[in-house]
């Protein structure tokens, strides 16, 4: 089964997947002079340094004990105590940190899968069916892209309070499965990659709309779905304000909120500082893994969307 032929055009690495023939992947742009190239490299180098230094600092800080943290070079190793630190973090208060990490995976993982499914169905319907109010609906959804999640947190809290769902798993999960941007992307992609002829053929063969969607269309939309999943995964993982407002019980916290709570009491309980540092470092690992695993798909998805 081929996912899509457009992949090869953008990403040579995707050629490993069996495809039904594609163009020669690597094109060469016009040659550039040495000076602009050098300048570009310098600018990129500076920015890379700018973005990577904090992560490097975090990595170094996680390997130190409290004394070394303040008295040794912040950008180079001292006594290597990373594993002791991780051990202490995991053991602290019966492993509450691991619980938070699991919660985050649950909120972000399951939430993003459901969000992707809903967004793709919605985007697909908007792209492929004609019905009154279609454009209005789409514009409303598009408007949703512009509303920051933070602005919605408080109204959501009041709503959830009415139905007594605050401080439950659902208080964070339900708002997370909505992705206006995903709907937008799915619509654009469905229009571009799912041919009407194919749908007609499928209908002639006797497949219902639902079956067509799940067996034909969803496969064609796959790169877009990966992109939607990734965006949603990252935004749920980083969503901080919603859990802050909704959750009271420690066992429901996602890792971002848990670390923030610890960090806010460092003045009074300085021993938490090491835990916050090591915890922050570990908390970006799942994001990095997700990105690495999915990057070839999402790069294609973005590229294809941009071409149309």
């Amino acid at each position: 089964m081929t996912t899509t032929t457009t992949m090869t055009a953008v990403n040579p690495r995707a050629a490993r997947r069996p495809t039904g023939g594609g163009q020669d992947a690597v094109g060469r742009g016009p040659r550039e002079g040495v000076i602009p190239r050098t300048a570009a490299f310098i600018v990129m180098g500076v920015f890379t340094l700018y973005f990577l230094t904090p992560i490097w600092w975090l990595l170094i800080a996680s390997t130190k004990d409290r004394g070394d943290l303040f008295s040794t070079n912040p950008l180079w190793f001292a006594d290597f105590r990373f594993f002791e630190n991780v051990g202490a973090l995991v053991a602290y208060r019966d492993g509450v940190y691991l619980r938070w990490l699991l919660n985050s995976l649950l909120y972000a993982g399951v939430g993003a899968v459901v969000a992707t499914l809903l967004a793709s169905m919605c985007g697909y319907a908007l792209a492929k069916y004609r019905f009154p109010g279609r454009e209005t609906l789409f514009n409303v959804v598009l408007g949703g892209v512009l509303v920051p999640a933070t602005a919605l947190a408080l109204p959501l809290f009041l709503l959830f309070s009415q139905v007594q769902l605050t401080n439950t798993f659902w208080a964070v999960f339900l708002p997370s499965i909505v992705s206006p941007f995903g709907v937008y992307l799915s619509r654009v992609f469905a229009e571009a990659s799912v041919p009407d002829e194919l749908l007609e053929a499928s209908r002639l063969d006797g497949a219902g709309e639902v079956r067509t969607f799940f067996t034909v269309s969803i496969r064609l939309m796959f790169p877009a779905l990966v992109t939607v999943f990734l965006f949603q995964f990252v935004s749920i993982w980083n969503n901080f304000f919603l859990p802050l407002i909704m959750l009271r019980s420690e066992e429901l916290f996602p890792v971002t909120y848990g670390l923030y709570a610890w960090n806010s009491t460092i003045n009074q309980f300085p021993e938490l500082r090491t835990f916050v540092l090591v915890g922050s470092l570990l908390s970006i690992v799942p994001l990095i893994i997700t990105f690495l695993l999915l990057q070839r798909y999402w790069r294609t998805g973005l590229g294809t969307g941009a071409l149309k």
Binding site: L159, S161, L244
Partner: protein, 443 residues
Amino acid sequence: MRSAKRAAAAALLTVSALAVAGCAAGGGSGSGGDAASCEPAGEDVTLTFTSWIPGIEDAVAMWNEENPDIQVEVQTGPSGNAGTYQNFFNQLEAGNAPDLGQIEYDALPNFRVQDGLVDLGACEDVLAAEDQFLDWTWGQVTLGTEDEVYGIPQDQGPMALFYRSDLFEQNGIEVPTTWEEYREAAVQVREAGGYITNFSDSDINQFAGFVWQAGGQWFENDGDAWTVNLTGDESTTVADYWQDLIENDLVSTYPAWTDEWNNAYNSGEVWTWNSAVWGANSILSGAPDTSGNWSVALAPQWNAGDEKAGNWGGSSIAVFNGTDHLYEAAKFALWLNTSEEALTSLNETAQIYPATTAGLELPVLKEGVEFYGGQPIYDVFAQAATQVDPDFTWGPTMTQTYGDVSDGFKAAAQGNGTLLEALEEGQAATIATLEAQSIPVAE
């Protein structure tokens, strides 16, 4: 498709109906003023209690074990000003606040003016417990009223002087007992290559502690209106004193609680810290290389021979409006803050320094502390605790006031403007904030 449209319309309607209901309920709970009665429920009760103190669960577990009919569920979050207070206000608005919550003394008046707290004075046990607490900690929860009690004092932060006994000794400098001597010592310390202390431009509550010690009063409430006085004589004296130290480069001005700040203490660059009892733990973990070199003395005085101390921090357990179980909540809050087992547990897990007179005599607070060269430092704080002026009152918008003053303090630490100017701006901004919230201000 028609049905989808109808469903959407129905959903929209539901949402707006809920929103309206939410507003209505919010308005209703805010205006509640019925005197709650303090009667036992006569059935099993589960209370919710929000606190951000790590390890408070241990003490609560003891309570739950002994009181099967009054179970307490701990909820948690970031420290008060970092989000939990805002959450409390949101929850009060939505009508689902916990039964009990941790509230620092300086935030208590804010919850009081917003009508978020239940008066525990309705409970006889609470009124009878007054004698167990230090006068001034009780004053913090009565908010200057008679027989009204808005929380049970939990901990306190009497201030004293942490100093590097080794450095003072090596350089032949006397440990200062008055602020005048402190300034003289500051010059000598500077000559020896260090700073006597760090002036924190963000910890306005430390500065408030200095003013408290000097006998100043930032706020007064006569029952009708608030008097705001950030620039009284005592405040001015304190501000001018520190202004002088800053201008003459006698104190460092690192942002507090940062790595540089920790490093300044850990490396011996800064020699003293005028801090509260909980600061003992901050130095211990921020400057681990200096173990054994620190001591604690009573705070420097404005007049030789005075015995006055300031306070920095401390919190209470309050009961929120909307609780159905005032009697049980009060009972639990009293137990948590007066029983020896709870206070010992809180001290062991979170270094909570009790607000009761008996609590100051806990065996664990009588021991010598290795980091402080074996000195039984809590004896000093117990003495300081009895020297805190009981009449100091916090304003109803302290978070705002801290922020307003902090901006000016930061500028002053950089050499722009003065601390006194910052207080003047804070004064004006605080009055404006109170008026904007329709809280009456006395002229």
